[in-house]
Each structure stands twice: as structure tokens, then as C-alpha cells.
């Protein structure tokens, strides 16, 4: 059968109708599935990196501030309001309103960040001065918004005095 497909059935030739033994394949699949299910991570956990105000990163930030046009940006976080200050000037306070799900409404803060980024595109650092009574969830959401607004170098400190 030169040049053609051997369909089997000829004298002295093996038939092509051979059943592939799928049992080892299915066994391997079963073991693989068991292993992957056991090692699977179902909850997606991330991290938000912060620095402590006054920590070792502050010197680098100061050098960077000198080189680029940036300001000392501080956000005072209290359970009732958020106050943003750039160097000496302070923006009007944002009232801490909560939605139906009890989460802080951060839309006005995001709008203010956008406005500020328009004025200082090189700005990347912000310090959050937080009061003791502020909930961890609120703080994390504010840090998340800061990073989302292009201010990734977030420092956290307690309110002085």
C-alpha cells in the first residue's frame, strides 16, 4: 500500500482498531484534581503597603520633594470628617457620610484628589493623620483610594497632641 493509508485487515498485518486504555489517564486526572483542589486558594487576599510617618522612607521623600514640584500633603482622618491640607493651605472639610451598607462615601475625597493631581502631577506621597477612634476598615478604604488616585506612597501616623 505504497502512498496510501493502511486500514488493516490484510493478511499478516495488525489491525488499527485498538482501544486505548484510558484507565491510567483517568487515574492521573483524578489525582491531579484532588491535589489542585486541596491546594487551591479560594480567598484572594492582597496587601496595601504603608509607611509610618517619620520612618526611614521620609528622607527619600524629602529629597524627591526638592527635585519635583510637590507639596506636603496631609489628610486628617476623624470619624466625622476628612480634612485635606497641602503645605499650609487647607481644603474645606469633607463630611464622613456613610451609605446604606455602612461604608464611608469617599467620592468627594476622590474628586479632590483628582483636582490636586491636576495641579501637582508629580505628587506621589500623602500622610494620613488618623484619630484613635477611626475604624480599620475606613482607614484601609482611604489608603486604597489614595493609591488608586496616584498617591502610592502612603504614610500613616497618629494625630499629634
Amino acid at each position: 500500500m505504497a502512498g496510501g493509508m493502511d486500514l488493516g485487515g490484510g493478511k499478516g498485518k495488525k489491525s488499527l482498531d485498538v482501544a486505548i486504555n484510558l484507565t491510567p489517564f483517568i487515574d492521573l486526572m483524578a489525582v491531579t484534581i484532588s491535589f489542585l483542589i486541596m491546594t487551591a486558594v479560594w480567598t484572594q487576599i492582597g496587601r496595601l503597603q504603608v509607611a509610618q510617618a517619620g520612618g526611614p522612607s521620609m528622607e527619600d521623600e524629602q529629597k524627591q520633594e526638592e527635585q519635583t514640584k510637590t507639596v506636603q500633603l496631609t489628610l486628617y482622618v476623624t470619624p466625622t470628617e476628612l480634612r485635606l491640607a497641602a503645605d499650609q493651605s487647607e481644603f474645606p472639610a469633607i463630611e464622613a457620610k456613610r451609605g446604606e451598607n455602612g461604608k464611608l462615601d469617599l467620592a468627594p475625597l476622590v474628586a479632590r484628589f483628582k483636582e490636586l493631581k491636576g495641579q501637582f502631577p508629580d505628587q506621589s506621597a500623602i500622610t494620613l493623620q488618623t484619630e484613635d477612634k477611626v475604624r480599620y476598615e475606613d482607614l484601609v478604604r482611604i489608603i486604597d483610594q489614595c493609591i488608586g488616585a496616584g498617591l502610592p506612597q502612603v504614610s500613616v501616623s497618629a494625630v499629634m497632641g
Partner: protein, 193 residues
């Protein structure tokens, strides 16, 4: 073309096959029913592909407990293997050791948590001893620590935990959060070391 009864129809080549063609033409009522394993294998392949796509080589860095509900965040980085300080509504723990009770910590006026700081110093020393013989700075101590806190914990407790971490040499603090929205959204230049 004549109408044929529903059932298995093999190609011309397999009609006389010993394996596939056996009993396909009118021989009904045999005791051995063929189990179709093709859909089973297909299903296995799909499950394996799905699980491999979701596989995380890092594994589970943080241990999830009922006492700690993490807040949500969008702009997060992938969590890494570092010491984990767990802050629930009742106690502060590190590596399974309770280092303070929240009720007591609220009353005290110290800036740090002494037991936590001591434990972290021990861990730092242990790390440095382990890696002192290694060549290069690839495994140098960077001072990273993960804080896994319940979402309703007040900042007064977090502040003390952070201060203790900084005092012990752990300056790179990472707040653990549940990843919400797009996965792996890497913010630019977020590293402040």
C-alpha cells in the same frame, strides 16, 4: 438514504471492528452496556485546566479565622510570606501566640505592645542568624510585616501594633485586605523602603 433507528453509528471503517463495531447492528439486549467515558474525560480536562489557571504558587500566607473579617480593597499587591500580626476584636496574636488582649490595650497608655515587640525582635534575630551565612543580599532583612486586622478594630490598637513593629525593625507594614475587583492591579512605585 434509509431512516435508521437512533443509536450508535460507526463509520464505514469501524462497522466491522471487533471493538467498536461489535454488536452495533441489531444485537440488542446484551448484558454488557458500554459506559461512555469521553464526556468524563472532557469534564476532567476542563476541571484540571480551571484549577491550574487558579493555582497560586504562594499558597495561603494568611490564616483566615472567624474572628477576623478583612476589609475590601481594589488597588492591592500580592501578599507575600512575612510575619503576620493578627488583630481580632479580642486579642492580638503573632505566630499563634497571644501578645495582648484588646480590652487591656485600650486601657493602657503605652505607645507599644511590649510582648509583641519582644516577639518580633526574636523573629528578626532568628531571620538574621539564618541568613547570615548566605552570600549576597538577596535574602537580606527588609523589615516587612503583614497586619491582618478585623475591620471594626479601632486605629488606637493598630497604632500600637505599628509602633511595636517599627520599634522592632519592621518598618515596611502591609495591611492585609480582601482583593475586590480586578486582580493583580499593581500600583506604580508603591514600594517605600
Amino acid at each position: 438514504m434509509p431512516i435508521k433507528a437512533p443509536g450508535k453509528r460507526y463509520g464505514k471503517r469501524l462497522q466491522h471492528s471487533k471493538v467498536f463495531g461489535h454488536g452495533a447492528h441489531g444485537k440488542h439486549g446484551g448484558g454488557n452496556a458500554d459506559v461512555l467515558i469521553t464526556p468524563l474525560v472532557d469534564m476532567f480536562v476542563i476541571i484540571v485546566l480551571f484549577l491550574i489557571a487558579n493555582f497560586s504558587a504562594t499558597g495561603e500566607v494568611l490564616m483566615m479565622t472567624k474572628d477576623i473579617q478583612l476589609p475590601d480593597a481594589v488597588n492591592v499587591k500580592e501578599v507575600e510570606m512575612h510575619p503576620v500580626v493578627m488583630v481580632s476584636g479580642e486579642e492580638v496574636t503573632i505566630s499563634g501566640t497571644v501578645v495582648g488582649r484588646v480590652q487591656d490595650l485600650v486601657k493602657e497608655e503605652y505607645l507599644n505592645i511590649p510582648a509583641l515587640e519582644e516577639k518580633l525582635r526574636d523573629m528578626k534575630k532568628q531571620f538574621e542568624d539564618l541568613h547570615s551565612m548566605a552570600e549576597g543580599n538577596t535574602n537580606a532583612f527588609k523589615g516587612d510585616v503583614n497586619i491582618q486586622a478585623h475591620k471594626d478594630v479601632e486605629f488606637s490598637i493598630i497604632k500600637r501594633v505599628m509602633f511595636s513593629c517599627a520599634s522592632a525593625g519592621y518598618n515596611n507594614i502591609n495591611f492585609a485586605t480582601l482583593q475586590k475587583g480586578e486582580a493583580g492591579n499593581e500600583p506604580t512605585a508603591a514600594k517605600t523602603e
